[in-house]
């Protein structure tokens, strides 16, 4: 028998994974530090005096001084940042000036609505975008390729807030096919608040868990338009990326191997090529998900969606800086977390990815 170098014993797939999580957490921590630093700077250079907005115009000088001490504003900058940092790590993002409620609990209340919307939107984007991209890649230059390309570019060029208004005008105003702004009709809104067990804050999930299917249907009728809208934007991105990844994979030699083995074309595309496309596509999907979390700022304004995006904009107009920055930090955290998750998934899907 010819002497053959032994195959190296493969290390457990989990070990590089742990490394990935480790370095991911480090990146996360550093990025968050930067995030907090930037928001801190922004908060300090803001021309609005936070004390005046808390105390009101008529506060006496003594009251003002007392408050200055109480809020630690007499400390040097670096110490203020350290305090801000320490508070943030403990989950204290400050107190909203408008409501006098802790920002974190307000944000926590709003977050599920945004999450629900962005998740559904991403789902829609993946379900339509991946097949569209594959279709275009398998027939480059064909009519279907052109259509996918133009539809995608339109999605890239679309002012989302405007499309939302048009959608409302057509599907709610004229056709009355969908529920209007908000997450529920007013009657269900009361029911949700007072008669339902709230598990997640996501109405679709909670109403289903409560077995309230009429409310579930109502929530669907409200979410379908904004979700389809966000889904379109994410579909534009996902279909383009899928097309380019798929084209690249289909030109590889292992595809010929699969064909030589007599595999049917659907299997060549959807199994052999797709498993390779999936590797970079995961990052793209995570990015588009993160992008939707952000894109919700404008969409939520249009659809009166009580999520994080509308929280931030509302706070902005009330000059409620702690709320704006708190909301920003939370979106940033979601952003970074998604990036890290996609990195982990990437390692799981691609056997070549070593720590």
């Amino acid at each position: 028998m010819v002497d053959i170098a032994p195959v190296p014993r493969r290390p457990s797939r989990l070990r590089p994974l742990f490394w990935g999580v480790g370095s991911g957490l480090l990146t996360l921590a550093l990025t968050l530090l930067g995030l907090l630093f930037v928001t801190f700077i922004i908060a300090r250079i803001v021309p609005i005096d936070p004390l005046l907005s808390i105390l009101g115009e008529r506060a006496t000088t003594a009251q003002y001084e007392a408050a200055r001490l109480a809020y630690g504003l007499d400390e040097p900058m670096w110490k203020q940042f350290a305090i801000y940092l320490w508070d943030a790590v403990q989950g204290d993002l400050g107190t909203s000036i408008r409501t006098r409620e802790p920002v974190l609990s307000e944000v926590a209340e709003r977050f599920p609505a945004t999450l629900e919307l962005a998740t559904l939107g991403t789902l829609f984007g993946v379900i339509t975008g991946v097949p569209a991209g594959v279709l275009a890649a398998t027939r480059p230059g064909s009519i279907s390729d052109q259509v996918v390309r133009v539809v995608g570019l339109l999605g890239y060029s679309m002012p989302v807030f405007w499309l939302g208004l048009i959608g409302l005008l057509v599907f709610y105003g004229k056709l009355d096919w969908v529920g209007g702004p908000g997450r529920l009709d007013a009657s269900y809104q009361m029911m949700m608040q007072f008669q339902m067990e709230q598990y997640t804050g996501m109405i679709l999930v909670d109403s289903a868990l409560n077995g309230a299917w009429d409310m579930f249907a109502n929530a669907i009728s409200h979410i379908v338009l904004p979700a389809a809208l966000l889904g379109y934007v994410s579909m534009a991105y996902i279909s383009r990326m899928t097309r380019s990844f798929m084209m690249n994979e289909l030109s590889q030699e292992y595809i010929t191997t699969a064909r030589v083995k007599g595999m049917p074309e659907w299997r060549v595309v959807w199994v052999h090529a797709m498993r390779n496309v999936l590797v970079p596509l995961i990052t793209v999907i995570a990015l588009s998900y993160a992008y939707l979390l952000e894109g919700s700022v404008l969409t939520e304004t249009i659809f009166a969606w009580p999520g994080l995006g509308s929280y931030i904009t509302d706070a902005l107009f009330a000059a409620d800086m702690p709320a704006v920055l708190g909301g920003t930090v939370v979106v940033g955290v979601a952003f970074v977390t998604l990036n890290m998750l996609s990195d982990i998934l990437y390692r799981l899907v691609d056997p070549r990815a070593q720590a």
């Binding site: 990146t27 550093l30 990025t31 930067g34 995030l35 930037v38 928001t39 922004i42 250079i45 803001v46 021309p47 480059p140 230059g141 390309r149 133009v150 570019l153 339109l154 890239y156 060029s157 679309m158 002012p159 989302v160 807030f161 405007w162 499309l163 208004l165 048009i166 409302l168 005008l169 105003g173 380019s244 084209m247 993160a290 992008y291 979390l293 952000e294 894109g295 700022v297 404008l298 304004t301 931030i312 904009t313 902005l316 107009f317 000059a319 800086m321 704006v324 920055l325 909301g327 920003t328 979106v331 940033g332 952003f335 970074v336 990036n339």
Partner: protein, 301 residues
């Protein structure tokens, strides 16, 4: 004309300039065959013309109010696209709005890539801890949701065109820094840079005179592709009331003011939105075509 073409397609160019122009000519030929890219070019061209000749093209003063003629539907004689709630002609406002849009695009297209180039080339040229630090900062900005960061910045600096531009530029530079750094790393150790260094040139001069020009082509493609995004963010800021202030005819802010009459007078919000869509589509088509032509990797068949 034909001798010019011969000169351009000469397979043995006599000078570097001829070779460059020849390459450009071939690229132009390829772009011209790409119908979508040409559509984009035409749209962008029309936008430039519209902005340049706005006073000649617009049938009315974009700011002139006429309360007796408010909320007229499209097709009304004298007001092709209808009027808004102050009786201002929507078409004229859209035509003049193109100036504001171009102004914002131009400012961002100059500032953001410049900032990115500066950070990217410095990072790539010096390497070491400077590189690590600058790239970490870049990553942080990349991790930041762009629109929300721009929102927060505008909130701090106060609404207005210049502040909106600044906020957009401050959120748009990281990709350019990444590109510039990658390009810098490929040329940093080349012989001609070493030669310049031996002649006694200092770092600023090497970076500005010899490295930045190498980064420009890839940065310019990226700028074209990014312009549509800039238009959308600027319109978004305007829509939220954080960009250009009324009564100036900025498209995003026009949509926002038409929102109140959405169900009755749909055109007030619809028309400026169409303008945004068409212009950003134009930039996307053009950028897409440019990339197809200039990036050899994406050449399909």
């Amino acid at each position: 004309m034909s001798s010019l073409r011969l000169w351009l397609t000469d397979p043995n160019p006599a000078s570097r300039r001829q070779a460059r122009l020849g390459q450009g000519y071939l690229a132009w030929l390829r772009i011209r065959r790409n119908k979508l890219a040409m559509t984009g070019l035409v749209i962008v061209g029309l936008l430039l013309l519209m902005a340049a000749f706005a006073p000649l093209l617009a049938p009315h003063d974009p700011l002139a109010q006429d309360l007796s003629r408010r909320l007229l539907p499209p097709g009304t004689p004298g007001n092709l696209l209808g009027t808004d709630d102050f009786g201002r002609d929507i078409l004229s406002r859209i035509i003049f709005g193109s100036r504001i849009t171009l102004y914002i695009i131009a400012l961002v297209a100059v500032t953001a890539p410049l900032l990115g180039l500066l950070i990217g080339t410095i990072s790539g040229y010096f390497g070491g801890w400077i590189d690590a630090l600058l790239m970490r900062i870049t990553d942080i900005f990349l991790a930041f949701p762009r629109l929300i960061l721009a929102l927060a910045l505008v909130a701090v600096m106060g609404p207005g065109v210049e502040n909106a531009v600044l906020a957009i530029a401050l959120t748009a530079w990281p990709p350019y820094a990444r590109i510039a750094r990658a390009e810098t790393l490929t040329v940093r150790n080349s012989d001609y840079i070493a030669a310049v260094r031996l002649q006694g040139a200092g770092a600023p001069r090497i970076i500005w005179g010899h490295i930045v020009p190498m980064c420009l082509p890839s940065v310019i493609i990226r700028v074209t592709l990014d312009m549509a995004g800039v238009i959308l963010i600027a319109a978004g800021l305007g829509f939220l009331g954080l960009g250009v202030q009324p009564p100036l005819p900025e498209w995003g802010q026009m949509i926002s003011s038409g929102r109140k009459f959405l169900f009755e007078q749909w055109w007030v919000a619809t028309m400026p939105g169409l303008a945004i869509l068409i212009v950003s589509l134009g930039f996307n088509l053009l950028g897409d075509g440019l990339r197809d032509v200039l990036d050899p990797r994406s050449t399909g068949k």
